[in-house]
Symmetry: C2
Subunit: 352 residues, 2 copies
């Protein structure tokens, strides 16, 4: 435990296996066997060693174990998400999957700075992490992480990557778009519009594709003029709805590409005297709790299951550490969270 | 680097100092001296060793260094903030302060679960972290972290703690409340009200105290009936403003205890036909960018400088690791971020 270079005199030196052996009146070898549950020892001896270890607050040193086993039981998580909106739920899933294996997570925010990325990777490699999970931008696929020849296992989570031999886990945005649309159709809506993010984002294209597919299954189309692409902001949602209602007042349902866009849309609808859900039903995308639950009315929205995605990413990483080779893109299903903006929970039946 | 227990055959063994020495045609001792910049070596030899190290992508193993020096150059960051609202800016500051020292941060979300906390602490201690930074709830002071007799340096950041020998860094909420109020007074407002969070939070009391002090300096009071305590939510901000305007229509300024409360307040003012800032000026607290900047109008608000607080917490932790003993509560200043909800940037002069 932590002796500073210019060691703090007041800090107590932690107990070693030697101290435990001395206190229990056994050899170091016997103490080690007793604590590891190995070897042939009398129950009384084992008990005495354990009691001494407890009394002295002996804690095994993972560094030694790491050098011996060639693994550190640490993983690096690299993000560019400064809001924590994606990082925290992913971290939760990763911790749940790795916690049982007693693996801890180094988190670093790269802030879209390639120089910082290089420095952090050097540090992570020097610390001998067992693997990396990389979160990235969803708009453009990122280049593979520059880890040189280290052959370090890497999983890309909620992140696209240009390297076809890499393993990438993403939410199934097509399925998410279908879920949202089917819910609106089930609510009896037939005149749907889509207000969403920048057109070049793959997620935007996929959500729209899912919407179009669900409409097609009901013999409906999604005309160009009822798809409005813009920014991922409330301001865009607000402006888009103003434009949309002017050119097409018959719209009775909105599928919004994000919860923030949906919040702006709800404001615009309210100010134009359109009742939600009676006149226009609205579905968002993200299930960003603090945004969606506080909407007026509370927002029905698509949840990307980021916790589960993090959990799966960690499981895949453990498999890669164990030597399993995997590549390609895996899409994990979204789920619909029903609140009040489409007319209540009675439509929820078959959405999960 | 990472040889799995059942080693993956395809993974290349990383270069050791032996490989570098062999490739450069020198002894291991010479290679080590050349890479560490120590000893008397010919420039040509040093250069040859470095070239070999580069070519072989040799990376020094921190585990060995850690065992030798009794430090791991790792720090644990413990949080209970599932939204990342506080964690991410604090992490940014911590990374900025520790990055130069090549220290990495283990992040764990304890989720207010004492059992989980105990497990994570055991893991962090086994990994021989050099110290811990603990983020906590601001409502009630938390008990000191149960690290037994390890004497591990700990700094509490944005977190109160019951142990008077602990070191805790907090935003100066009194000063923050004063900043907000002085800004409203400078804007010519004299009939101020306060809509804020739960009355038992220390932060709520401090912000209110700062407001009262700033008013007193101008010969004004803050009557009980113009202080409304409730939840940290938009819904509360909305409801409180409705109540307030009914009982006291002369209110010309609102200081809100959080940006979310301010968002609800802005909605209520708009729907009651009160213009912001012309009729009522509004200041928030948090500078939660995605909430404050998207408000209509964009919200002037108090920023707790969490990035700087994280940076200072990390600096204090490094000092503690080096043996410096410090205790007590340190309050770091907030700053005002001026947007449009008080009448524009022309009042910003002396707020920073």
């Amino acid at each position: 435990m932590l002796i500073a270079d210019d060691a703090a005199p007041s800090r107590r030196t932690p107990a070693t296996i030697r101290d435990v052996a001395l206190a229990a009146g056994v050899t170091v070898g016997t103490a080690s066997k007793a604590l590891n549950g190995r070897g042939q020892l009398r129950a009384e001896t084992r008990e005495r060693v354990r009691a001494a270890a407890d009394r002295l607050e002996f804690r095994p040193n993972d560094l030694v174990r790491s050098l011996q086993r060639g693994r550190t039981f640490t993983v690096g998580l690299l993000t560019n998400d400064s809001f924590g909106r994606f990082t925290m739920p992913l971290l939760g899933g990763i911790e749940d999957a790795l916690g049982a294996a007693e693996i801890l997570v180094f988190l670093s925010n790269l802030r879209d700075d390639p120089e910082r990325e290089a420095t952090v990777i050097t540090s992570l490699l020097a610390k001998q992490v067992d693997g990396l999970i990389v979160m990235g931008r969803r708009s453009d696929p990122r280049p593979p992480l520059p880890v040189g020849r280290s052959r370090l296992p890497i999983v890309y989570a909620n992140s696209r990557v240009t390297d076809p031999t890499a393993l990438s886990l993403l939410p199934d945005d097509v399925q998410g778009g279908r879920l949202a649309t089917e819910h609106l159709l089930r609510a009896g809506r037939r005149h749907l519009a889509h207000v969403t993010g920048p057109a070049h984002w793959e997620a935007v294209q996929h959500r729209r594709d899912g919407m179009a597919a669900a409409l097609a299954a009901h013999g409906l189309t999604l005309p160009e003029e009822r798809v409005l692409c813009g920014a991922w902001t409330e301001a865009w949602g607000y402006a888009a709805v103003g434009r949309l209602l002017e050119r097409d007042p018959a719209v009775d349902a909105l599928f919004c590409g994000s919860d923030l866009i949906a919040r702006g849309a709800l404001d615009a609808l309210r100010e134009q005297g359109r009742l939600v859900p009676d006149d226009v039903a609205v579905v968002g995308f993200d299930n960003w709790e603090i945004i969606a639950a506080a909407a007026r009315p509370p927002l029905t929205t698509v949840d990307m299951n980021l916790h589960d995605l993090g959990q799966e990413a960690a499981r895949r990483l453990l498999a890669a550490v164990a030597g399993e080779v995997a590549a390609g893109t895996i899409r994990l299903p979204c789920r619909l969270v029903v609140r009040a903006s489409c007319g209540g929970a009675n439509l929820a039946g078959s959405d999960a």
